[in-house]
Symmetry: C2
Subunit: 440 residues, 2 copies
């Protein structure tokens, strides 16, 4: 190990769960951490659908990174997007929102840049079928959802009205299932008796999925129960459906038998897959690292890149033992890697143990009082599942006030079915996978 | 009076205070009300600066019009922007968000379309100096405020850093004063100890005003006290200053002596004046009504347009006896006009009394524990003013939950100085006076 006169410089790319937990694990180490993210906030991604559906505000699920880390005096947060890594000179190049470039030298690099929505080679779908990965996406979806009912109310012919009252969701993982449940609740409860021309409760919600079941990752038992709950809510399930086209008035899908169906729906939302951002390709070329089919970077058992012990990849962007893209994996891998650097700085020479993911279970919310939770071999659903969901999400929300605020909001929402955050802006829509345009 | 077999049709343009109070006053009348607004929500405009400065969420100051009016079974809300009035055929033409046009026949028309920010013939200023009239504006300003500190933190030279830490506000009416106080509080309290390179407390806030004092409408005593409070907060006051140019790095202003000063400030906000929207010109040409200098429409003592007893103009857009553009005037004129139509429908033939504004006072918030309130000849400031401010705003916020939520949020903000709604999106900026682009 070298001796450093200046503290060892750790650069973390990404302030999601992985990056945040890495920074936290380095709190008491004599290192200088720079945390770079193109957003200034840490987003509690598992509740993003509640922001999109008008239950929670942006501030309830997103907190400034520098507020979360204010007592971590060795961490500096920078609002910039990493664009390139120079592995020989150990430099990260990043672009600030005004387009200016900055360079950040590192001794250790932690890449926690996450993944983005994938359209499986059909990026042109994005314009009419936004994904849901960022706060911008959630507000875009909120606008589309509530505006669709407004458009139906003022529609002048019955066919157009029905199109505005049809919502097609592509992808039946947790996010798709959660959104489907939310839209049926909005239609059936939140908007009840607030329209004069349309009957919002008649809105159709279609959930399309290429695989054979909803929530496949939860195993057949919970998948079956979730499907039953969704059907009970009035969600129409289309399994084994591959989307072949999306436009502003709907989509076309091919079923297992090769039949093409047209679905007229003015609102199409996409949660079907993820892919690595361009930075992953840059990093793979620079280090010789392999990428999996989604572009994620294959890592060693200690989460470093082969041949580059100074570069670690954590969270959704790492590819290791087919671990799922869950918040819990991101937290644990981030914390592991922060600890590994701390131990190295402390001069521990013992080879670190390989990363092991401790499966604490996973949960998906379906509707008021209904959720599915899987903990090891234990399957919980219905009201019990929902209570477990509530406990997990309260426990993990960042910040005391967020927890209290969310809990109070949920009490009101679950008791009354009304939603506080229905106001939407009129800002133009944009393709959600595009980087934000530089300001000015 | 004619007999109508179908109920008398009342079209209200605008869902601000004036339009909302007109609709409410018609609740028990056998009329069919159509309320048209280009936003789906009623905005509690007096608290917009608190949304811009990260205290309140959108949902706390904006509620769906149809939710507010859900028990008004004779009111239909439509999301559209009125573009033209055909006074002969008694038709309003309006554009839906997707660009489609709809026509709405009326027997009575209530124009409550409000005013927008005025740049006094320099609309090119808008790009770099957003106004604050809509929810979009507030979120744009929130993004600019918090991003400025982020940019300062990552700035690579001292001059650029100082530019990002300089905020210039044009216009020292209530909104300008409130924003100035908010920015100093954000800099001095909210962001304390959250940056590693900059000292946010050193941010400069300049308040420029063409007149000779801040809050001129509150009279000399309160104006003097407000100026003292602002100076105590560190706000630099530049009275008698006319802005002659704005660009992305600052502005130029001319003082009374004709001297031109350049102010380098990467954030410029504009609250200096208002003007009528294009609809006012359309209406004036169609009816022969006169407009005042800001384009507001001159009305008769009963708030109708001369020669057009079926058309009434209320709220900020009406020009009558130099009444100020206050929420209270809008509420009272809206309610007056709704009652006048109700009385006419009920067959009362007595000439209605002219509209009289009952001045309940006005208030401006300066900082935590400091506000100025004017009620008739009574001037209240300091902590007493602030308590009066608190009471007034709680009393008038629409909806029980908004009130409770705002009160709880304020308790936390006033006790701790922290703000919950600091998360901002990365959406591109836009000129705030532009109409929203048509959505698909």
């Amino acid at each position: 190990m070298e001796d450093h006169i200046t503290p060892r410089r750790v650069v973390i790319l990404g302030g999601g769960f992985a990056g945040l937990f890495a920074a936290r694990a380095l709190r008491r180490s004599p290192v200088a951490v720079t945390l770079v993210d193109r957003c200034a906030h840490h987003l509690f991604q598992p509740l993003l659908y509640q922001c999109a559906s008008g239950i929670l505000s942006e501030g309830q699920i997103a907190q400034p990174l520098r507020a979360v880390l204010r007592r971590h005096h060795n961490v500096r947060c920078l609002l910039a997007e990493a664009t390139d890594v120079d592995v020989d000179d150990r430099l990260v190049h990043a672009r600030r929102p005004d387009g200016a470039m900055i360079s950040l030298p590192y001794d250790d690099l932690i890449v926690a840049a996450g993944v983005r929505q994938s359209y499986f080679g059909h990026d042109e779908f994005a314009e009419h079928a936004p994904g849901m990965k960022t706060l911008d996406d959630a507000l875009d979806i909120r606008r589309r959802l509530f505006r669709a009912f407004e458009m139906a109310e003022s529609a002048t012919d019955a066919r157009e009205r029905q199109e505005w009252l049809t919502f097609a969701l592509v992808g039946a993982g947790p996010t798709g299932v959660e959104l489907a449940g939310q839209i049926r609740e909005i239609a059936g409860h939140t908007l009840e008796r607030q329209f004069r021309t349309i009957e919002p409760g008649q809105a159709r919600v279609l959930l399309l999925e290429g695989a054979d079941s909803v929530l496949a990752a939860f195993g057949p038992t919970l998948a079956r129960r979730a499907a039953r709950t969704l059907k009970g809510l009035g969600v129409e399930l289309h399994m084994g459906a591959m989307v072949t086209g999306v436009d502003e008035r709907g989509l076309t899908a091919r079923d297992r038998a090769g039949r093409i169906t047209r679905i007229d729906a003015r609102t199409v939302l996409w949660t079907a897959g993820v892919e690595a951002p361009p930075l992953a390709g840059v990093l793979a070329r620079a280090t010789g690292a392999e990428q999996d089919r989604a572009g994620r970077i294959l890592v060693e058992p200690d989460l470093t890149i082969a041949g580059h012990p100074e570069i670690r990849v954590v969270g959704d962007l790492m590819s290791l033992n087919r671990l799922p893209g869950l918040a819990e994996v991101a937290m644990q891998s981030g914390a592991y890697t922060g600890r590994a650097i701390r131990h190295a700085v402390e001069g521990r020479t013992k080879q670190p143990k390989p990363f092991r993911y401790l499966d604490l279970g996973s949960a998906a919310y379906i509707s008021r009082g209904r959720a599915v939770v899987k903990v090891g071999r234990l399957n919980v659903s219905g009201v019990t599942g929902w209570l477990a969901w509530l406990f997990i999400h309260i426990a993990f929300l960042t910040g005391f006030r967020s927890r209290l605020g969310a809990l109070l909001t949920w009490l009101i929402v679950f008791a009354s079915g009304s939603r506080r955050e229905r106001a939407f802006t009129s800002a133009g829509t944009r393709a959600p996978t595009d980087p934000a345009p530089p300001a000015h």
